[in-house]
Symmetry: C2
Subunit: 143 residues, 2 copies
């Protein structure tokens, strides 16, 4: 795996590419998504490039969430139509990750905005859920 | 707003309702979603009930993300079909929140799992993105 391939976020963070910024601190920046899923869609991005959740130091992940909470409150405060917010994060190509620089989506929600999840929820037996939980818990213990 | 309405999560956390648990610590618990959007879908839930992102103390939000990262790694490690992960959080009814006890979804992703976002992305003018960013930044400064 290439450690530091180019992404547009590096240029935005360096200030050499255009972005509509809403927040900056020592660890992260936040700016408007140029292909918003709903109006007011913001990305929260660590200054340093970590490609995936696995590479992302937990203290920086924690910071992304905290900035996301602040941005969520500000998005609600700045637009009375915003009645809710989704956080979304894609880790891996199969999960829809397109830019390999971890980023948290803050997606404002308004009635009739057309955004949602596409999914086929299932109802597994408790025995199957227990089996999965045992495997995941075992993997957590090994990590 | 009712401060502590009933949710099933309170009973799961108290141990009086069934759940397939994968992680517990002083601040949060994680267990299998009984209506998984994909196989292995886990919820990360603070022990204390906070209804919304606004009520959620940032240090607890930060912890949810960190536990989410650990669970994401464990879900990948426990199932070789899992090639990615989505984090999802719904804040507010319009955002799809059903249980008013903040929770982070950790959604394993596999090829052909049928999960995705339903959205109509737009391409606003830079002037419009700048206008939104200015308003959100102003709200951040006030908070």
């Amino acid at each position: 795996m290439v450690v530091n391939p180019y992404t547009i976020f590096a240029e935005i963070i360096a200030g050499t590419a255009e972005a509509s910024r809403v927040h900056e601190d020592e660890t992260a920046v936040a700016f408007m998504d140029i292909r918003p899923l709903t109006s007011g869609h913001v990305l929260v991005v660590p200054r340093q490039q970590f490609r995936t959740l696995e590479e992302l130091p937990p203290e920086i992940g924690a910071h992304l969430f905290v900035v996301g909470q602040k941005v969520a409150a500000a998005v609600r405060a700045s637009n009375p139509r915003v009645a809710g917010v989704n956080f979304f994060l894609a880790d891996g190509t199969v999960a829809g990750q397109e830019i390999f620089h971890v980023h948290l989506h803050v997606i404002p929600r308004m009635i009739g905005d057309g955004f949602g999840l596409r999914a086929r929820p299932s109802s597994p037996q408790r025995s199957e859920l227990d089996r999965q939980a045992t495997e995941i818990a075992a993997a957590l213990t090994r990590s």
